[in-house]
Symmetry: C2
Subunit: 339 residues, 2 copies
DNA sequence: CTGAAAGCGCTTACAG
DNA sequence: CTGAAAGCGCTTACAG
C-alpha cells in the first residue's frame, strides 16, 4: 500500500524546497528547465496528484455543487440529476446529491451542513413540507452568506434567486384544451393538494381552460390527493359515479393509476375514457396503453440549472447582475391513452 | 451579505487568541468559564460554523463517500442511492454521486479526480465498458492508496474488496423453476450479452434449471440483447416464430417490452403467455398487467454497501481484516403477468 | 534560479 | 488559564 505522495515528500526526496516543487509542476519559467524536468519525472513516477482539499482551502472554492431533491425515486428528479451531472462534469465540477425525503428538517440540516465550505452552490427543489410551512430561512441565510442558489420545479416567489421552471399553468392549459378539442366535455382533474406549488398551478390551468371554453367547473370532478394516502378508491369512485370522458392527471403516478382502476371496473382506455398525464417518465412510456403526457424535460432543466449556477460562480461577483427565471418548454407527447 | 465568520475574526473581535476561541467553542475545561461563555455567545450571535474544508484537511477525512453508478435513469440504481444516502446521513456522511454513463473513461476520470483527498471511499457498480475491457487498474490503484472500495451488483472477481451482491444465478434458477412448476415447457430467455456479469449469471441459472428438469435447451429461445439496440423486432420474431409458453427476462425493460409486443401481435398476458422479469421497479409495478418479478432490493443493497464502507473507514485499519461479500436475499414477487 | 515566509481555517501539544 | 507554534497540503508574493 503506497500512500499518496505530497509536495513535501517530493521536496525532501529531491532535496529542494516545496516552493520549487510546486512551481516546477506548474511548469513555471521561474524554475530552470533542468529542475523542472527532474521534479516532473519524479512526480510522474510516484503518480503525484495535488490534494483537492488543500486546493479547496487555498482557493476558497471546492468545485463541487450540491443538488437537493425531495426524492430520487421520482423519475423526473433522477432525470434532473442526470442533466446537472452532464454540464457540471463538463465544466469540472462534482455533484453532491442530497435527498430531503420531503422533510423540512432534512432540507435544513443538509443545507446548513454543506454551507460551511463544503460546496460552492446549491441547486434545489423544495420539499413538500417546506412548501407547506413556507419557512425559507435556511435558504435566505445561505444566499446572504454569498452562496448562490438555483431553484427548479418546486420553487417559491418569496426567495430571490435564479430559477428554472416550466410554465405549469400553460402546460395544463394546453393539455386540457387538447382534450376539449377532441370533443370531451366531462373532464376530471387528478391533482395534488394546493400547497404543492406546481400542482396548484396545474389546477389553475385546468380551471381556466374550462372557463375559456364555457364549460362549468364541477368540483366533484376535481380530486386533490395527498400522495402519501391510498388514493385508488378515490379514483374508482370518481370513475364509477360520474360518466367521465377524460382525465387530466398532474403526474404519471396518478395517470397510470387511472388506467389500472379503469381496467378493474371494466372501462377501456382510450375507448371509454381518455387520459393525459404529466412528466414524461418511464411509467408513461411503458404502460399499456402508453400514456399521452406533458413532457417536462428534466435533463434540460437540470442542465440549465447547472449552467446558471456555474455561470454565477465563475463571473466576477457583480451584485448588480439580476436574477433570472428560465422557463423550459414543454410539449404534449401523444400516445395511446387518448383518442 | 454577511460572509462566514472565522475563528480568526472572533479572536480579533474579542481580543483573545485563536487557540482560546477554538478551545472555548469545544467547551474545553482548560478555558475559564467566563471566557467560554463570552466566546460562545459571540459565536452564536455571528452564527459561527467551522469550515468543513479546513477540518477535512486537518483530519485527513472528508466525511464524504462517493457512489459511482452506470446510469441514474435505471430505477434500480436510483434505489441504491437512496439506501446509501439513508445510512450515510445517519452516520454523518455526505454522498457524492457520479455517473459513468456506462463509459470506461468516465469511470476512470471520476475515480482519479476524487481519489485525491476529496472523499473517503467509493461504492461502485462497474460500467458495461469496464466489464467488457476487463481493465480495472483504476480501482486497484485507489485500493492500493489505502482508500476502501465497496462494489455492488456489477462486480468483478479480479478485484479484492468488499462486495454486495445478490445471488443472480440462484434467483434466475428460482424464477425459471417457478415457470416450470406452473407446467410451462417452452420457456424463452431474454438476457443481456455475456460480458455483463449479472446477465451472464442469470443466463446460467436459466440453463441449469432447464437441465435439472430434463428440458432441452433450445438456443433459438435464448435472445441476447445489447440494450443500445432496438430489440422490439427480436422479441416480436421470438413470439411469432415459436409457440412459447413463458418468458423469463433479466430486467424489467425487456419484460415490459414483451408485454407490448405480445399485445401488438394479439397474444394476451398472462392467458396466452406468462412473463417473469427481474428488478422490482416501478415499471413492473405499474405496468398493465403488472409484472411478476425477482425483487432485487436496491435500498437494502445500498444500505449494506454504505454500512460496510463506513465500518471499514471507522475501524482501525487492521489490514488483517478480511474482505467480505454480502449476499442480499431476493424473492419472487408474484403479480399479474404469470398464471 | 531557489527558497523562506505567509496564508487558507482549523486543532492540539506544549510553554508560560 | 491563555497563547504561540506547528501542522494538515497547497500557492504565491517576495527576498536573495
Amino acid at each position: 500500500m503506497r500512500r499518496k505522495v505530497t509536495l513535501k515528500q517530493i521536496a525532501k526526496e529531491l532535496d529542494v524546497s516545496i516552493s520549487t516543487v510546486s512551481k516546477s509542476l506548474k511548469n513555471s519559467t521561474e524554475i530552470s528547465e533542468d529542475t523542472r524536468q527532474k521534479v516532473q519525472a519524479f512526480a510522474k513516477l510516484y503518480n503525484y496528484k495535488p490534494n483537492n482539499i488543500a486546493l479547496s482551502l487555498k482557493n476558497k472554492k471546492t468545485k463541487t455543487i450540491c443538488i437537493i431533491i425531495p426524492e430520487i425515486i421520482h423519475h423526473f428528479f433522477a432525470t434532473v440529476i442526470s442533466g446537472v451531472e452532464q454540464v457540471a462534469n463538463e465544466r469540472g465540477y462534482n455533484v453532491l446529491v442530497c435527498l430531503s425525503d420531503e422533510s423540512f428538517d432534512k432540507e435544513v440540516i443538509n443545507m446548513e451542513m454543506l454551507a460551511n465550505g463544503s460546496i460552492d452552490g446549491f441547486i434545489m427543489s423544495l420539499s413538500k413540507e417546506t412548501q407547506q410551512k413556507k419557512d425559507f430561512h435556511h435558504i435566505v441565510e445561505v444566499i446572504n452568506q454569498g452562496m448562490p442558489v438555483v431553484m427548479f420545479d418546486r420553487i417559491t416567489n418569496e426567495i430571490l434567486c435564479d430559477k428554472v421552471i416550466i410554465d405549469d399553468e400553460l402546460a395544463a392549459l394546453n393539455a386540457t384544451q387538447y382534450l376539449i378539442d377532441k370533443g370531451f366535455k366531462k373532464i376530471a382533474l387528478l391533482t395534488t393538494v394546493d400547497y404543492v406549488s406546481v400542482g396548484k398551478l396545474r389546477t389553475e390551468g385546468y380551471i381556466k381552460t374550462l372557463k375559456n371554453n364555457d364549460i362549468t367547473v364541477d368540483e366533484k370532478l376535481i380530486i386533490k390527493i395527498e400522495d402519501t394516502e391510498n388514493f385508488e378508491h378515490k379514483i374508482a369512485d370518481l370513475l364509477t359515479q360520474n360518466s367521465i370522458d377524460a382525465v387530466f392527471a398532474v403526474n404519471e403516478l396518478f395517470a397510470v393509476t387511472v388506467i389500472k382502476e379503469a381496467n378493474r371496473i371494466g372501462l377501456k382506455v382510450p375507448d371509454d375514457i381518455s387520459i393525459i398525464g404529466f412528466t414524461d417518465g418511464i411509467i408513461s412510456k411503458y404502460s399499456s396503453p402508453s400514456i399521452t403526457t406533458v413532457s417536462q424535460n428534466g435533463i434540460k432543466m437540470g442542465a440549465k440549472a447547472a449552467q446558471m449556477l456555474i455561470e454565477r460562480l465563475e463571473t466576477e461577483e457583480e451584485e448588480d447582475e439580476k436574477y433570472r427565471t428560465e422557463v423550459i418548454e414543454t410539449e404534449l407527447v401523444e400516445r395511446e391513452s387518448t383518442k
